[in-house]
C-alpha cells in the first residue's frame, strides 16, 4: 500500500511515463527502481529520518527522472537510434500512402457530388496538339472535346492512383508489423528510443505543410492539370491527419506530465524480467 502523497509513487509514475522502452523492459526497470527506493527509504527511517525526509533522500540519491531515463537511453547505443529512425520513416511512409488512398476516396466523393470537372479540370490555357487530342479522345470516346476528355481522364486518375497507393501502403503496413512480430518471437525487441513526441511532430510538420500547399493550390482553382477538387481532397485529408497528430502529441505530453494518472501496479510491481 502506498500513502496518499507518496513521493516514491509520484516519482515512479513520472519515470514510467518518460521511459521509451518496451513494456516488459519498462516493468523490470520500474520494479527495480521501486525496490531500490523503498529499501533506501527503510534505511533512512532506520537512521532516524522522517518518512518525508527518507523519501526525499532516496529520490535524490537515485537521480532525477531525466538522468535515469537518459542513462537507459544511452545504453541503447547508435544502432538502436538508427533502427528507431528507420522504423519511424517506414511508419511515415505507410501513413502517407494510406493518406493518398484516403485522398482518392474523398476525390471520388467530389466526383459524384460536385461533378468530374471540379476534380479533374485541365489547367487553364492548356493547348492540345492534334496528336495528344486524338490520344485523349481515344481514351474517353464519350467526351465532347479534347479538354473534356483530358479532364475525365485526370478525375479518374486520382481515384485509381489513390487505390494503388493505398494497396502499397497496406503492404508496407503489413511488413512493418511483421518485423515487430518477427523480432518479438525471437525474444528481441524493436525498441523505439526516439523521444515520444518525435513521430507526432514529424507527422504534424509533413501533413501540415501538405495541407497548406494543397489548400493554396485549391484556392487558385487547381494547378498542374488538376482541378480544385483534387487539391481540396488532399487538403482535407492532410488537415485531418495533422489535427489527429496534434491530439496525439497532446496525449503524449499529458502522459508525461499528468500527476493524477495512476498506472496499474502490475506495470512495475510484477515485472518478471526479460
Amino acid at each position: 500500500m502506498t500513502a496518499p502523497g507518496d513521493r516514491i509513487e509520484e516519482y515512479l509514475r513520472t519515470l514510467r511515463a518518460s521511459l521509451r522502452t518496451m513494456p516488459q523492459e519498462t516493468g523490470r526497470i520500474l520494479a527495480e527502481a521501486e525496490n531500490h527506493l523503498r529499501e533506501a527509504v527503510a534505511a533512512g527511517l532506520a537512521a532516524g529520518l522522517t518518512e518525508a525526509e527518507s523519501q526525499e533522500a532516496a529520490i535524490s540519491s537515485f537521480g532525477s527522472v531525466r538522468t535515469v531515463v537518459r542513462a537507459h537511453e544511452k545504453s541503447h547505443g547508435t544502432a538502436a537510434v538508427l533502427v528507431s529512425l528507420v522504423m519511424a520513416a517506414w511508419k511515415l511512409a505507410w501513413t502517407f500512402l494510406l493518406a493518398l488512398g484516403a485522398v482518392g476516396v474523398v476525390a471520388l466523393i467530389f466526383d459524384v457530388t460536385a461533378g468530374q470537372p471540379f476534380v479533374g479540370a485541365s489547367a487553364p490555357r492548356t493547348r492540345f496538339t492534334a496528336a495528344n487530342c486524338s490520344y485523349w479522345m481515344r481514351i474517353n470516346p464519350g467526351a465532347h472535346n479534347c479538354a473534356q476528355a483530358a479532364m475525365l481522364e485526370s478525375s479518374g486518375d486520382i481515384v485509381v492512383d489513390g487505390v494503388a497507393c493505398a494497396l502499397f501502403g497496406l503492404l508496407l503496413f503489413e511488413g512493418y508489423f511483421l518485423v515487430h512480430h518477427f523480432w518479438h518471437r525471437r525474444g528481441r525487441q524493436v525498441r523505439d528510443v526516439l523521444p515520444r513526441a518525435f513521430f507526432p511532430v514529424t507527422a504534424i510538420i509533413m501533413f501540415g505543410a501538405l495541407a497548406l500547399g494543397c489548400g493554396l493550390a485549391a484556392a487558385v482553382k487547381g494547378a498542374r492539370g488538376a482541378g480544385p477538387g483534387e487539391w481540396l481532397s488532399g487538403a482535407i485529408v492532410c488537415t485531418v491527419l495533422a489535427v489527429a497528430y496534434v491530439l496525439r502529441l497532446r496525449q503524449v505530453s499529458f502522459l508525461r506530465h499528468a500527476p493524477g494518472r495512476r498506472p496499474g501496479r502490475a506495470g512495475w510491481a510484477s515485472g518478471k524480467g526479460r
Binding site: 523490470r28 526497470i29 520494479a31 527495480e32 527502481a33 525496490n35 531500490h36 523503498r38 529499501e39 533506501a40 540519491s61 537515485f62 537521480g63 532525477s64 538522468t67 535515469v68 542513462a71 537507459h72 544511452k74 545504453s75 518478471k272 524480467g273
Partner: protein, 107 residues
C-alpha cells in the same frame, strides 16, 4: 570526485563487487559506495542500465528472489563474467602501473 572517470570504469567496478557473491541492485550500489569510501557516488538509478548491459553481454545473470517479504532482482557473475573480470583487472593493473611510471609517483 569527478563522475566521468567512474562511468568509464563502472562495468569493471560492478563486476568486482559481484565477485564477492550474488547481490541485488541496492546492495551492489551500497557496496560500491562503501568500498570506495564514498568516492564513487553516482546517481544510483544510473547503475541499473550498466547492470542490464552486462547481463545483455552475458557477463551477468539475474533472477527475481524473495527476501524479507521483498522481491529483488539478484545479479551474479557468469563464467564469462568471471573471465572478463580477470581480463579487465589485468588490463587495469597494466594501465595503472603505466600511469604511475609516467607520473612519477608510487602508491
Amino acid at each position: 570526485m569527478d563522475r566521468e572517470p567512474v562511468k568509464g570504469h563502472l562495468e569493471l567496478l560492478l563486476l568486482s563487487v559481484l565477485a564477492a557473491g550474488p547481490a541485488h541492485g541496492y546492495a551492489i550500489i551500497s557496496s560500491l559506495r562503501t568500498r570506495s569510501d564514498g568516492a564513487f557516488d553516482l546517481p544510483e538509478g544510473t547503475v541499473y542500465p550498466a547492470l542490464h548491459r552486462l547481463e545483455d553481454a552475458g557477463l551477468l545473470a539475474s533472477s527475481w528472489a524473495q527476501d524479507d517479504g521483498r522481491k529483488r532482482r539478484v545479479y551474479a557473475l557468469t563464467d564469462e563474467g568471471v573471465a572478463a573480470l580477470a581480463a579487465r583487472q589485468t588490463e587495469w593493473r597494466r594501465f595503472a602501473s603505466a600511469v604511475q611510471a609516467v607520473a612519477g609517483w608510487s602508491a
